[in-house]
């Protein structure tokens, strides 16, 4: 009896922590308008996606694999040209990649022949900084990701987490107006990942950079994001755009956060069941993107979907 009441109270008390995001005043920093994308093999990756990202916001795109969230991020970066709709940054249409929108990939993508310091200096010099400024800035950002002492190490001499930190430092040092991150911590072990979350939170709380962060990990999205845009696949679309009102810095084991993640998981589960009936025959048969979703009817009622199972 008390347990039920407690559960009820908990549910009620967390209600105000996750609310539908309201349209904000002013021009969006990054505006995604009715973006659709269809791959050459007729798979609809995105359909009618509308997202506004405001300056200084940390937006997480959350969804199961194959929901088009990475495609959307690549479109934001300019690496993919969406087949429909517009994407604009500060009112200008996005055409091709550029250093105003730096993308951090799933892998660190460091230049293997350059040391940690040279990796930063090289891209800073490409941005037009003089050598002394570039050196100073590189040193500063290596310090920010706590890699002082490893300046002259080569990427292959570092651990996976350290490499990712170098990639993060390199992206931050360029000072893009939007930082795009594509599941950057997906390949790291759980402990390293939570260190990275702490680091990213502390860095973000310091400079309030505009970030769009793609993940399939619900708790990661809730720990990091001001807003969580929940997406569903086939076709890729926005299910809900939620505002997370948890105080920072956030702890992934915080009760309220766990409760919120349960709610999002339930929502994703419902969406998946809804899109699985009737069975998408054409899609499962022709799904060539390697991330063939679970066939229709495989997800039993009540069981959590594979989303976020990695945590």
């Amino acid at each position: 009896m008390w347990a039920v009441l407690k559960r009820f109270r908990q549910r009620f008390s967390t209600r105000h922590l996750l609310v539908p995001s309201r349209a904000r005043e002013g021009l969006a920093k990054l505006a995604v308008r009715r973006v659709g994308h269809t791959f050459a093999n007729e798979v609809v990756a995105l359909r009618n996606v509308d997202i506004d990202v405001h300056s200084g916001e940390f937006v997480c795109l959350l969804g199961p694999s194959g929901c088009g969230k990475s495609t959307l991020l690549y479109a934001l970066a300019g690496l993919v040209k969406p087949s429909g709709g517009h994407i604009s940054l500060d009112g200008r249409d996005v055409k091709g990649p550029g250093p105003d929108r730096v993308l951090v990939f799933q892998e660190p993508a460091l230049f293997p022949w350059l040391s940690v310091r040279q990796n930063l200096v090289f891209v800073l010099r490409a941005k037009g900084l003089g050598r002394p400024e570039a050196e100073a800035r590189a040193r500063e950002f290596i310090g920010r990701v706590a890699l002082t002492g490893f300046e002259d190490a080569l990427p292959h001499q570092l651990s996976g987490g350290m490499r990712m930190r170098v990639a993060l430092a390199r992206a931050l040092a360029i000072d893009p107006s939007v930082l795009l991150m594509d599941e950057p911590f997906g390949a790291l072990d759980a402990q390293t990942r939570s260190h990275m979350h702490e680091l990213l939170q502390s860095i973000w709380m310091r400079d309030r950079k505009t970030v769009v962060f793609v993940t399939h990990n619900i708790r990661e999205a809730l720990v990091l994001g001001d807003r969580v845009v929940v997406m569903a696949g086939r076709p890729g679309r926005v299910l809900q755009d939620l505002e997370v009102r948890l105080p920072r810095p956030r702890d992934p084991d915080d009760e309220a956060l766990v409760e919120l993640s349960r709610r999002i998981r339930a929502m994703l589960g419902r969406a998946e069941r809804a899109s699985n009936t009737p069975p998408p025959m054409a899609l499962t048969k022709e799904n060539t993107d390697g991330e063939a979703a679970a066939p229709a009817g495989r997800v039993p009622d009540g069981a959590p979907p594979p989303v976020g199972a990695g945590l």
């Binding site: 690496l79 993508a109 010099r125 490409a126």
Partner: protein, 209 residues
């Protein structure tokens, strides 16, 4: 032969020609390989040509070289260039094709363009391939040079070898052959080995031992 300095001067003469031809073919071959690796049009047009010409033993260029350049050092240098150029550009192209596409994508995202992209990303990225090409090119060049010098007498180790045959001096022939092997393997094993190991280690392709 060693004492009267004939061998020494012949080696120098041969190496001088080799250096000319080899540097020329490296200077053409590496950019050519990068261009083929980067451009789809060149990939479709020049690559089959380069691969086809590779099937032609380099000494087969000698008649053409003699017609174009006459009996001069330039003809030999031409043969050397034709012998090593193709190997260098094929291997360079391989190196370019082998660059992690993620790295190229990341370069675009990080705003690395133009000359900085070529000099700072493509060439270092393809360097393991380029070094292999230069090593291959060196041995092809050395062979082409020897063949050329044998057929067309104008000083150098090849001529010394031919002279030995004409004088029926087996000792000279063998000594010159040894010298050819010696020069070839010293450069190959010592110079290129060191460069290759260093590059591979730095690039993280081989464990430092």
């Amino acid at each position: 032969m060693v004492v009267d300095g004939r061998l020494g001067s012949a080696v120098l003469r041969s190496l001088g020609r080799l250096a000319q031809g080899y540097f020329l073919s490296a200077a053409i071959g590496v950019p050519l390989g990068i261009a083929i690796g980067r451009s789809r049009v060149l990939q479709a047009t020049l690559k089959p040509l380069v691969l086809g010409l590779q099937a032609l033993p380099s000494i087969c260029w000698l008649p053409l070289a003699l017609l174009w350049f006459g009996l001069s050092d330039r003809a030999i240098v031409f043969v050397v260039v034709m012998g090593s150029l193709l190997a260098i550009s094929i291997s360079t192209e391989d190196g370019v094709a082998g660059i992690d596409p993620l790295l190229l994508r990341a370069s675009g995202v990080l705003g690395i363009r133009g000359l900085r992209f070529y000099a700072g990303v493509l060439v270092p990225g393809a360097l393991p391939g380029i070094v292999t090409g230069l090593k291959l090119g060196w041995s092809f060049a050395w062979r082409a040079l020897m063949a050329g010098e044998l057929l067309f007498v104008a000083g150098g180790l090849g001529q010394l070898l031919q002279q030995g045959r004409e004088l029926l001096d087996v000792a000279q022939v063998m000594a010159v052959m040894l010298a050819i092997v010696g020069v070839g393997s010293v450069v190959d094993q010592v110079l290129f080995r060191i460069i290759e190991v260093r590059v591979r280690r730095r690039w993280g392709l081989a464990e430092a031992t």
